[in-house]
């Protein structure tokens, strides 16, 4: 089989996950990826991991602001709030 038609390996499939989730694989690449996924619990698990990570990163959000920085910004607010 040629490189283009053979099944992707797990090692290759994990590198396609972001492009797959972003919808940027070509039709052929997507078919090969999904064909592999349908028969590979490990890669299906990897895709699920990445989906969980993306959701969790968004849910957790940015870091908490330290009180000193917040106070400094509130001082800016008091200084500039009349300017708009």
């Amino acid at each position: 089989m040629s490189v283009l038609t053979r099944d992707v390996t797990c090692r290759e499939a994990v590198e396609l996950v972001t492009d797959y989730l972003e919808g940027s694989l070509s039709t052929r690449e997507r078919r090969r990826f999904e064909h592999h996924l349908a028969r590979c619990d490990g890669c299906e698990g990897y895709l699920a991991q990445v989906r969980a990570v993306v959701a969790a990163t968004g849910a957790v959000g940015p870091e908490d602001l330290d009180p000193a920085t917040l106070q400094g910004l509130v001082a800016l607010f008091e200084q500039y709030k009349g300017d708009s």
Binding site: T9, C10, R11, E12, V14, E15, V17, T18, D19, E22, S24, C40, D41, G42, C43, G45, Y46, A48, Q49, V50, A52, V53, V54, A55, A56, T57, G58, A59, V60, G61, P62, E63, D64, L65, T69, L70, G72, L73, V74, L76, F77, E78, Y80, K81, G82, D83, S84
Partner: protein
């Protein structure tokens, strides 16, 4: 409370609304500014300038884009002007794709020998756990630029790949390559937590 509601309150000088917006976005602004300027101090300055611009221009915000997109656009414009001298060129090496999963986890034929540990339970049931929250935030903070800026905008803030590419001056293809590498590191960190077990 929605950004747009907070913005309405900000228009009438509500300090609590400002506190809420700042608490929500300042850390991410500093992260993204850090992509354009060379020091943490300069990034903090640019983020502060952005809030001043917001306070001065909030009445001009027309709601054509989301507040979030408007805010990051101001930030990027500020970092470009303020930091043009110390702005760095970050080469995006897309030609050579370094593997993002430890190669020892595959056999010689490229099949899993050490398959992924499911994370669904960890993130759905334990998202309030300090350990999980810290693992994610630490992993994002430790990402090198430009991964940190890309993961912050795309995954932490949920902007589209198109918006991220416009804000950072990268092609969408490069954004995806950088995102892929950054996400893989956050994934590895969370899997580490899952494998270490929760306290």
């Amino acid at each position: 409370m929605d950004d747009e509601v907070l913005l309405e309150k900000l228009l009438v000088g509500d300090q609590d609304a400002f506190r809420a917006l700042v608490s929500r976005y300042h850390s991410s602004l500093v992260r993204v500014a850090r992509y354009h300027v060379d020091s943490d101090a300069a990034a903090e300055d640019v983020a502060q300038d952005t809030w001043v611009a917001v306070l001065r221009g909030v009445h001009k915000f027309e709601g054509r884009s989301s507040f979030k997109t408007w805010l990051f656009k101001i930030l990027v414009n500020r970092s470009r002007t303020a930091g043009s001298r110390d702005r760095k060129q970050v080469p995006v090496d897309t030609a050579f794709a370094e593997p993002t999963v430890e190669q020892s986890r595959f056999d010689a034929g490229g099949a899993w020998t050490d398959p992924p540990t499911p994370l669904d339970d960890l993130v759905s049931a334990h998202l309030d756990d300090a350990l999980v929250v810290r693992a994610i935030r630490d992993a994002v903070r430790e990402l090198p630029e430009p991964q940190q800026a890309v993961v912050t905008l795309r995954d932490v803030e949920g902007l589209s790949t198109y918006e991220v590419s416009a804000l950072l001056g990268l092609t969408e293809g490069n954004v995806r390559v950088i995102l892929h590498r950054g996400r893989a590191k956050v994934r590895a960190a969370l899997e580490g937590v899952a494998r270490g077990g929760l306290p």
